[in-house]
């Protein structure tokens, strides 16, 4: 059996213009969105939250993936770990882009409006948790934790590229990741309550955090597959990220498609079956008029189609199929975030505003541009990782 060694060029080519293309898209999106802000401020904030969440969930799931690989000492994923590492490095910038949400709180979150608080019993009851000061404090805590984890895990990994294997540094990745995962679980759950669930503050779901996590991890895997395939198309890391790695990514994508469906359906069924008026409201609104169509679209687009097509072993190494399904899942993720946020503003029916699109260009352009810019600045794989040889020889 031939031993695989590092034979590929590990540097993302300087001549590649994908970073510029993404930043170009971002500039167009940002300019258009700023104009939109003055035209329709309320819509701007809802579109902003939709797209912020879309990008944030991908990046946070990337952080989760990195920590998971460290605590489990996974060897299979070493060759592609720099991708999620680079994503999670940018969480501190995500924190910066959360600030506009704070300015838009009065538009987004009914509970933060004094006139609602004065009249609504439930708002008063929930006031010790749902108040502006505590909301800001909580978000500062989330972003401090995430930014530290993302930044530190990236820095340590890059330091090993330059200084060689350092057993102490290597084990410190695990030491950070263990408690990091625990903190991540809590912070992601509470962040999802704060950002999304409190949009309709009368409603609550104790499994909302898991629901958001299941969506995020599924879409992150799709993004990871797409980036690996992009590198492959550019002729990069051909002998490094090989079919067995795609097979594993495909298996995980399949597994977390099922996990997502399990969680999303469990949440739905509990409310549907118990049929308590204040609990069913959230789904009631989403099963009316054109929102019902979106519900079915998500059911088929995010579960049924990927499930059936990914079921066979052959599918997980069929790169064209993986690419197609990954794109489908990314699109569905955007639609689902939109479907969680927008009914709070447009209860009557689906209403896509051009700001949803311009802000998508702004956020996706900016953060993917930043990703490739950072990806270019260091080796594309953690080249001194002790488990790299195992990963290269994966079969």
């Amino acid at each position: 059996m031939a031993q695989h060694t590092l034979t590929d060029n590990l540097q993302f080519p300087e001549s590649n213009t994908v970073t510029k293309a993404f930043f170009g898209v971002a500039v167009v999106g940002i300019v258009a969105s700023i104009i939109g802000f003055f035209i329709n401020t309320e819509q701007f904030y809802f579109s902003y939250l939709t797209n912020f969440t879309f990008v944030a969930t991908i990046i946070l799931a990337a952080l989760f993936f990195v920590m998971l690989q460290h605590v489990t000492s996974s060897s299979w994923s070493v060759v592609l770990r720099r991708i999620p590492e680079t994503f999670s490095y940018h969480i501190f910038l995500l924190a910066l882009f959360f600030i506009p949400v704070l300015f838009g709180m009065q538009y987004l979150y009914e509970w933060s409006r004094p006139e609602v608080l004065a009249q609504d019993d439930l708002a008063q009851y929930k006031e010790p948790y749902l108040n502006t000061t505590f909301f800001i404090i909580r978000n500062v805590i989330y972003f401090v934790i995430w930014s530290f984890l993302g930044w530190k895990l990236y820095q340590n990994s890059v330091r090993m590229d330059n200084d060689g294997v350092d057993a102490k540094l290597y084990s410190s990745q695990k030491v950070i990741s263990g408690p990091g995962l625990l903190l991540f679980g809590f912070t992601l759950a509470f962040a999802s309550f704060d950002w999304l669930m409190s949009l309709e503050f009368h409603w609550f779901s104790t499994m909302f955090g898991v629901y958001i996590f299941s969506m995020s991890f599924q879409v992150f895997l799709a993004i990871a597959i797409l980036i690996c395939l992009y590198l492959r198309k550019q002729g990069l890391l051909l002998n490094t990220i090989r079919l067995p790695h795609y097979e594993d990514l495909g298996k995980l994508l399949f597994g977390f498609t099922v996990f997502y469906a399990y969680i999303a359906f469990s949440q739905f069924m509990l409310y549907y079956y118990a049929n308590i008026p204040e609990h069913t409201m959230w789904y009631y609104n989403r099963l009316q008029g054109s929102w019902e169509t979106v519900t079915w679209l998500l059911f088929f687009g995010r579960f049924v189609i990927p499930f059936i097509l990914l079921l066979g072993l052959w599918a997980k190494t069929n790169l064209k199929l993986l690419a197609g399904l990954s794109i489908l899942i990314v699109v569905m993720h955007f639609i689902e975030v939109f479907y969680i946020v927008t009914p709070a503003l447009h209860e009557a029916g689906v209403s896509i505003h051009w700001l949803d699109i311009t802000l998508l260009l702004a956020f996706a352009g900016l953060f993917f541009g930043l990703f490739f810019q950072k990806f270019k600045s260091n080796s594309m794989i953690p080249k001194n990782d002790p488990l790299l040889a195992d990963s290269l020889n994966k079969h």
Binding site: M1, F265, F268, M269, Y272, Y273, N275, L311, G312, H395
Partner: protein, 183 residues
């Protein structure tokens, strides 16, 4: 008359020195056109399935079939119970209430798929059987320690005492012996 004469010949057992030789031998035996043969080693050898020319297992299809059967069975069972055998009004919901049917349908899909996997594997491996003729060979005990073997069954169309033995010796078997069925 030796005692061997009234016993049924099961096949030939050939020993090889190491996993590499075993793999080459398996490839050669498969290439010679034998189908009813098997390779035995103390640990799994990567690439052996391919070397032996094994086709992909049919188990996946058996599991899929059972899973679909479980799914349809689960839906049919609940439709029958809730709409004809024992219709009940549950908080004003429709009798044929698909969302509420999902958990039972899901569980039955998993249950039947698991049965399909378990019993399908048994059937494909011709289990349960309490003994195997190969265990009559003393040397075969090494198969769980440090021995690498290929056995070719006498039932194979190409099998002949001399030719098969010659083939096995040609491809590097260090020791070939006849194995008999005891009963």
């Amino acid at each position: 008359m030796s005692s061997d004469d009234n016993k049924q010949l099961y096949g030939l057992l050939a020993e090889f020195k190491n996993p590499g030789e075993l793999m080459e031998a398996a490839r050669a035996v498969a290439k010679a056109g034998y189908h009813k043969f098997d390779a035995h080693s103390p640990f799994p050898i990567h690439g052996m399935d391919e070397a032996m020319g094994l086709k992909k297992s049919k188990l996946g299809w058996i599991v899929l079939g059972h899973g679909i059967l479980g799914m349809l069975g689960g839906i049919a069972l609940q439709l029958w119970v809730h709409t004809s055998a024992y219709p009940m009004n549950i908080s004003g919901k429709p009798e044929a209430n698909m969302p509420a049917f999902v958990p039972v349908t899901f569980e039955l899909t998993i249950l039947l798929a698991a049965f399909g996997t378990f019993f399908g594997m048994f059937a494909l491996n011709k289990l349960p059987r309490l003994n195997h003729p190969l265990f009559n060979s003393k040397t075969f005990e090494k198969a769980s320690d440090d021995g690498f073997f290929i056995s070719i069954e006498a039932e194979d169309d190409l099998f002949s005492d001399e030719k098969t033995e010659k083939l096995l010796k040609d491809i590097g078997a260090s020791h070939v012996e006849k194995v008999y069925d005891t009963d």
